[in-house]
Symmetry: C2
Subunit: 264 residues, 2 copies
């Protein structure tokens, strides 16, 4: 059955050329797949796991069409990922890779090198909220989420706090660029300070003028202002591609994991 499944997978994957010139080639078929199939014992046969890992890959690489909720059949998968080792390990890795990159610059000393951080699911975690709302299975509810934000108790994402401090120590200007609205400035500042984030250079929240813009446009416009003022955006950390793509993009962007929601 396993060999059959592998052959089936192969025939789905490859449309092989059956031309007269090629058919004699010993390399035409990926031989080791067939003759060494005993090496594949650890292949995961859990269809849900394969399906949901693929969905997560597609979400994290920005291949999906805009989505409002996670696939129903992936509810347990996403929850297990977030509360198991996977999410922690991913967060630690992106922090470490960002630190390696951040350390690679010799600064001109003109104070014009910027690192941008998003806030939600980048510096602060709303996981306590989402665990009570299906981890993405429930459609986003602005009213309920605002109530949570207003508590000001979102925990820091520890690997991001470590990166934040490192980037600060290295001499970058730190800009916090968030989709949170100006009405939440005070509680956001309090939440950040209480969880260890200090001495940022600028905190940009969404003004009423920005409310109808997509996050991609709003954040790109804010980055463009920085570039026009002569700043160099060296790094950008965000859990949404709308934090990272658009125009006036950072020299390097770092995508934190977030399989719970999508913001255009």
């Amino acid at each position: 059955m396993r060999i059959l499944a592998i052959l089936l997978a192969l025939s789905t994957l490859f449309a092989l050329a059956i031309s007269s010139e090629n058919s004699s080639s010993p390399h035409l078929l990926p031989r080791p797949l067939i003759f060494e199939s005993h090496q594949l014992k650890s292949v995961d046969n859990d269809n849900v796991n394969v399906h949901c890992t693929s969905w997560r890959f597609a979400a994290e690489t920005n291949n999906l069409a805009p989505w409002k909720t996670i696939p129903t059949e992936c509810a347990d998968y996403v929850k297990n990922y977030l509360t198991g080792k996977g999410y922690v390990v991913d967060l630690e890795r992106v922090s470490e890779e960002s630190m390696v990159y951040a350390s690679s610059f010799g600064f001109a000393g003109d104070g014009k090198d910027i690192w941008i951080f998003d806030i939600d699911e980048t510096l602060l975690s709303n996981l306590p909220y989402y665990l009570e709302h299906g981890c993405g299975l429930e459609a986003f509810d602005h009213f309920k989420f605002d109530k949570w934000v207003e508590k000001g108790v979102a925990p820091a994402i520890a690997p991001s706090l470590k990166l934040y401090q490192k980037v600060k120590d290295l001499g970058y200007k730190i800009v916090l660029l968030t989709g949170r609205r100006e009405i939440h400035r005070a509680v956001t500042v309090e939440n950040l300070l209480n969880t260890g984030f200090r001495n940022w250079d600028e905190l940009i929240l969404r003004s009423s003028d920005d409310e109808r813009k997509t996050a991609t446009v709003y954040k790109s416009e804010k980055r463009e202002e920085m570039v026009k003022e002569g700043y160099r955006i060296r790094g950008n950390s965000g859990d949404q591609w709308s934090d990272l793509l658009g125009f006036a993009m950072s020299e390097r962007s770092f995508k934190l994991p977030n399989p719970m929601y999508y913001i255009p």
Copy 2:
């Protein structure tokens, strides 16, 4: 032990605010994690699997520093992914999502809408070669790889062929933009035709002038020429971020999976 591991993971993940205002909040700790830990039975305890999945996530989201070989401990993981269901499912999904997006345009009818495809690991698969060379565990060997390319027997990636045909039928101009060199034009054309790719509008290979450029710069420059000629780059399919990022970027980019190698 499982509860201990979860608590340990939590303490790594979250640096909780222990301010006097917040400590009385019932939402300070992500409670469901602790009180509902019986729901976490399916959490994967295989450290190698978690580690290598995390590495793959980081590679696919472009979070890693430039790398030459896959981590040694992930050799079996990567091979199993490529020869198991994971790779096929991922390739099918990106093809399907691309088709949904491609179908969303009502064309002006001026023939100026372009879809760009990379070739290796996007339209054609070199998996037969890489299976004989450690699937990324061996450092890339130009000489050996050229020998493989010159056989002209790389199979088509079937989901990409389906996308190619759909995009062609919809009326996009198809541009193939590859890092392969001009000396391989004839064998590349033969390989593409033999595997079902027909009637592209342009095939751009790397000229001697482009040989010292990174793929990101070379491909961006070629895209910029298209934009200057009045074309609209609607979609871009590639397995490397250097196919997709840089300047003159496509309106939407689709990242095909490739955990075997990295091209800057």
